[in-house]
């Protein structure tokens, strides 16, 4: 086996082993909670692929994971750890729903495009703040993006929980419904599967092209590989970091707007519970490769939609499925441990390198 195929094997094998290990440990958790792991995982499989509406529901859940996973992966490639995808997702949804319910009488294609662009803008602006702080002052993006998540949650809570964006005609705290023209078209009748999936699938080659075939992509990868070398080569590290953060946030923002326009058609104050955080695992599992985001996002989508039928069959807590996801993340986050356990040859270094604060400040 030559070096190259060995590396490829490791790149494919490690994520697969991580997922299997995640299921094994989760199986133990299910068993400890008093249910049959085989029955549970069979139900999970049925609920994700076999049952009526199962596959469409899996694809619906896959869609935000693709956008968000691409966004986080893009950050990784520049050495940025964007933990703020969840907050950017919220702000994107907020901007999208605002355009969605305030405009009326537009042709559907115009209204949808405007709302999606608003979502991108929201996520872009929200991510640009830590981008600027990083590029100008060297403030670490892990800290600033985490903090901005809470600002986003609080802002959304203020606006929608009895604030200026609440639907006064409803007893539940939520925005008004978006205009029917702003709703993404349904792809298969009798299901909720919406055209957002196509946009997400389109985003994969776009981001791949951006990273692998454009100057900006080259800069992103160079900065991720070594900011010092990038600077020596005449690349503006500050601008590259800012642009990466902005695009990453834009992808999170379109995910949020897409959820509003395609799935809920309104926005409640607590819109997501962790899509943006799960996306970090999606990006890690895909090793920041845009093409690999698709199977990784599909896996998380399947776990999310299959867990419904798993709970239906076994009546175990919905949290058990989170154990599967968490274990997968844990096993991915510790590749060194795995390489040690299975004596695998060292895989190509993942492009996750967090530039130090001094590097940023020196720009």
């Amino acid at each position: 086996m030559n070096q190259r195929s060995r590396a490829l094997l490791a790149a494919v094998l490690l994520p697969v082993i991580s997922v299997i290990a995640g299921f094994v440990v989760a199986g133990l958790a299910v068993a400890l909670s008093g249910s049959d792991p085989w029955q549970s995982f069979y139900a999970l499989f049925q609920g994700a692929f076999i049952n009526p509406r199962a596959l469409p529901e899996t694809l619906i859940a896959t869609t935000p994971y693709i956008f968000l996973g691409l966004g986080v992966a893009l950050g990784f490639r520049a050495g940025l750890f964007n933990i703020g995808a969840e907050g950017q997702f919220y702000i994107g949804a907020l901007f999208g729903v605002f355009i969605g319910y305030n405009l009326h009488g537009l042709p559907a294609i115009v209204h949808i495009l405007l709302a999606l662009l608003a979502g991108i803008l929201g996520g872009f602006l929200w991510a640009a703040v830590p981008g600027i702080l990083k590029a100008r002052f060297g403030a670490h993006e892990v800290i600033t993006t985490i903090m901005l998540n809470y600002v986003a949650f609080a802002l959304v809570n203020f606006l929608i929980n009895n604030g200026p964006m609440v639907d006064k005609a409803s007893s539940a705290p939520r925005t008004p419904y978006i205009d029917p023209a702003a709703q993404l078209p349904i792809l298969a009748s009798g299901t909720r599967l919406h055209a957002g999936l196509l946009l997400a699938l389109l985003a994969i080659p776009v981001i791949w092209f951006l990273l692998d075939r454009t100057t900006i992509g080259f800069r992103i990868r160079t900065v991720g590989f070594s900011p010092t070398a990038a600077r020596a080569a005449g690349i503006s590290v500050a601008w590259t970091l800012l642009a990466t953060m902005g695009i990453s946030g834009g992808l999170a923002g379109i995910a949020g707007a897409d959820e509003v326009l395609g799935v809920s058609h309104y926005m409640p104050p607590s819109f997501s519970t962790g899509y943006g955080f799960d996306a970090i695992a999606v990006a890690l599992l895909a090793r920041s490769n845009p093409w690999a985001i698709l199977p990784a996002a599909f896996l998380f989508g399947a776990l999310s939609s299959g867990s419904r039928f798993m709970q239906f069959q076994t009546q175990v807590s919905a949290d058990v499925i989170s154990v599967v996801q968490a274990t997968v993340i844990m096993f991915i986050a510790a590749p060194v441990l795995f390489q040690w356990i299975f004596r695998l040859r060292r895989a190509p270094a993942p492009a996750i390198k967090i530039a130090s604060e001094t590097e940023g400040a020196a720009l």
């Binding site: 082993i17 299997i20 290990a21 094994v24 440990v25 199986g27 133990l28 068993a31 400890l32 008093g34 249910s35 049959d36 792991p37 085989w38 029955q39 049952n51 009526p52 509406r53 529901e57 203020f158 929980n161 009895n162 604030g163 639907d167 005609a169 409803s170 007893s171 539940a172 705290p173 939520r174 909720r192 959820e259 799935v263 809920s264 309104y266 409640p268 607590s270 819109f271 997501s272 519970t273 939609s305 419904r308 039928f309 709970q311 239906f312 076994t314 009546q315 807590s317 919905a318 356990i341 299975f342 004596r343």
Partner: protein, 350 residues
Amino acid sequence: MRKILIPLAVVGALVLASCGGSSGPAASSCSKTFKVGFVTDIGKLGDKGFNDAGWKGVQDAQADSSLCVQGKFLESKQPTDYTPNIQQFVDQKYDMVVAAGFLLGDDTLKAAKANPSVKFSIVDSADFADPVAPTNFTGLLFKQDQGAFLVGALAALLSKTNHVGGVYGLDVPAVVQFRKGYENGAKYINPSIKVDGVFHPAAANAFADPDWGKARAQDELSGGADVIFAAGGATGNGALLAAKEANKPCIGVDVDQYLTYPDVDPCLVTSALKNISVAVKSIIASAAKGQWPSGGVQTFDIKNGGVGLAPYHDWDSKVSADIKTKLQDIMTKLKDGSLSTGAEGLTKYS
């Protein structure tokens, strides 16, 4: 490869060894089971509120063997789970879906319209955006004014200063009925009694502002009130805490707060209950027996046990037999309709 497979096989064997013995709820000696699905809101089970109380109602219905009910729950992790969770039960040919609370109102109503052969019921929600609810849809409402009237009377009977107080959440119909019911109950015992009361002024955190609630209760206590009734979520909890610190009796709301907020147990005489589990069990029983109510709304009051007083717990020995008799008398009169709270269906406080 073998090095990979061996550890996996070991763990796999461990999983296998721990398998077996799963048991699902199964109805016995029933020719046909009536299948009920319960969908929580994002608070999920374990919230000591809507969700737990609603699910207990389903379990109580299941425990009643004459009903032949089989119940299952689905927890919602995010609001976009409401529709697919409801749909899951519909797809599995369930006879009835119960939704826990007003957050699911829109999604439940939509599902009810799309699936006329399935019964839908929702706790504490009737003011939908769409006023024309289909006949397979029933909102469960509570006459909170009756419970409030009872605790108002109790407060008046306990007061030594002839002055009682109340601290409330937002100025919305349910809370207005709590306040007016409490005040009318106190005045029913003693027409000359002074009753303080204050609504939370801000909208955003009206039910989540314990500091404000505590300060208002302290105002009322220092003004001479010696019993505090609190109806306003966490805001009310702050008021209860103020009464406890001042060693004055306090009265809780919605659930038996002796169990859910033990910090104030020393002052908590009772709570004005909304028995969500009773309401849920009752609507399931009606549906299972083929006696589905028409009219879109099912009201729960003191007569059918939907509202009432929580146990006195530590105060059982401190509330005199005379007071208990008087309250019993009021309860009887509210039940037979010879006494009205004067706050029924009230939407504006005046």
